[in-house]
Symmetry: C2
Subunit: 292 residues, 2 copies
């Protein structure tokens, strides 16, 4: 299964962002179905052709969900052990909320770390989207800049979604797992939405602690890969391009870069919480952008 | 008033995305307040320094809300007259909903186009965010790619927010206008959210028609500038950088590029509606990215 992959790319509208060039409006956009089977044309007066992008080596860029300039090499040197010791009451609420959520998760997944990673990434991609959306609406309501935090949080959400897109290539969700994801998303989205409205300080701290747990889970995942309990299969193509991994990279390499991502999210969210703790608003401190 | 502008930039963490380089974690992040007055330090173990970016000419990049590679030259050659003739029942619902919303807007603003533009951009930035967020959650729930549509819609939302950030430099909202914006956002966000859940086909069509009206308003704005009823002040600094406008550009130039943006949004949303009309899902057709 290769989701989101199209076999044909429609011709690019040359110079679409250059003024003075008369745009050649395509009357019809032809696009192939997601699995190459249903090649039905989308006929539209509004046909807006996508860009044609090539990789460094001249071959066609085959992903529509991310572009070459969004890819990166993960910073594997990041400190994986950093921890925010909970001291205030709110910190303790955040810490024990996360610890309490971990118990049922451990029982449910046992040592199935591939499945666990895939399932948890569907949840991990929610906070960044909720936070980014709320800051976006706040920026509009208050006629004020965001200091780059909207983008930083949306980037985090997109990064987590890419983790999911990667893991679903190596683990297939069963029907009851899909049902569970739908339920959990419904509950978690609303809970986090409310939490962010009431106390962004608490919300970011909770995510900081969730990320600390994520780092731990991925370390366990690596152990299972190293002792042979989980097969170290080749890395999916999407991971090679997204993290600029060398050819021949394996699942182990993917888990390494994903774990580094989680450490970066931990930093950003604990930092965001700290800013709130110091009585400031996020927009007063420039957000870390492209911090992976 | 210069919102979201910092006078000092903390040192960048060199090579943060390069593996193998030992990251120098800053223990303390110092950042200036948004108006340079309250230079309070944010002390944080998690201090995540922002990147230091320079412009092409070597001077420091002063915006934290957008980066050089997100700027563009607007395609002024785009057809401003394109219109989707409503034929189906849903199209007519969309068309007359927008027409009905125009009447009170015209009465409220009369010929105050600067104020009108600023106020309407606070609403215009909502649909892209709601659509992007819903597609993001859907992608997570269904374990499937989005074909780039999440990003395309979020880019539209961000582009509209930049319109607001630009116009608020030339028009200051009064207290009752701020109150109105808060109320309108509360109603419109929820209405659009529900509409997108029930019928994305209708939702995108409504935005398509809203953009057609926006093009019309900006054309009226240009007329008022040309006949001297509105003063053609210099373009704000943020506009010069965002649209790569030459030095000495004026409000008229800004309205020209903003109107071109609206024409692009019109195309994208009518196109998205067409895709739904043909019984397909957005993800099956690659989204237009960087389509400005
Ligand atoms: Fe993740
Ligand atoms: Fe994470
Ligand atoms: Fe706009
Ligand atoms: Fe627009």
């Amino acid at each position: 299964r290769v989701p989101g992959l199209w076999t044909r790319v429609v011709p690019a509208r040359a110079g679409s962002t250059v003024p003075g060039v008369v745009g050649e409006e395509a009357e019809v956009t032809v696009s192939a179905g997601s699995n190459g089977k249903d090649e039905k044309a989308v006929a539209s007066y509004w046909g807006v052709p996508p860009e044609k992008i090539t990789k460094d080596d001249g071959t066609e860029w085959k992903w529509h969900c991310f572009r070459p300039w969004e890819t990166y090499r993960a910073d594997l040197s990041i400190d994986l052990e950093k921890h925010h010791a909970p001291t205030t009451f709110l910190d303790k609420v955040a810490f024990w909320t996360v610890k309490a959520m971990r118990l049922p998760t451990d029982i449910f997944f046992q040592r199935r770390y591939g499945c666990r990673a895939m399932m948890l990434e569907t949840v991990a991609a929610v906070p960044g989207m909720v936070g980014g959306m709320l800051l976006h609406c706040k920026s509009l309501r208050r006629f004020e800049q965001s200091g780059g935090w909207i983008k930083a949080l949306l980037e985090e959400a997109e990064n987590e979604r890419m983790h999911l897109m990667t893991f679903m290539e190596v683990a297939q969700p069963k029907w009851y797992e899909r049902a569970l994801v739908i339920t959990v998303q419904g509950v978690f989205f609303n809970a986090y939405f409310l939490m962010y409205l009431i106390s962004p300080k608490l919300a970011h701290r909770v995510v900081g602690y969730l990320e600390e747990e994520a780092i731990h889970s991925y370390t366990e995942f690596l152990k299972e890969l190293d002792n042979g309990n989980i097969k170290n299969v080749p890395a999916p193509a999407i991971a090679l391009d997204y993290w600029r991994l060398p050819k021949g990279s394996t699942l182990r390499d993917v888990v390494m870069v994903v774990r580094a991502d989680e450490a970066h999210h931990r930093d950003v969210n604990h930092f965001a919480s700290d800013i709130h703790y110091q009585g400031r608003e996020l927009r007063e401190t420039p957000a870390p952008l492209d911090y992976h």
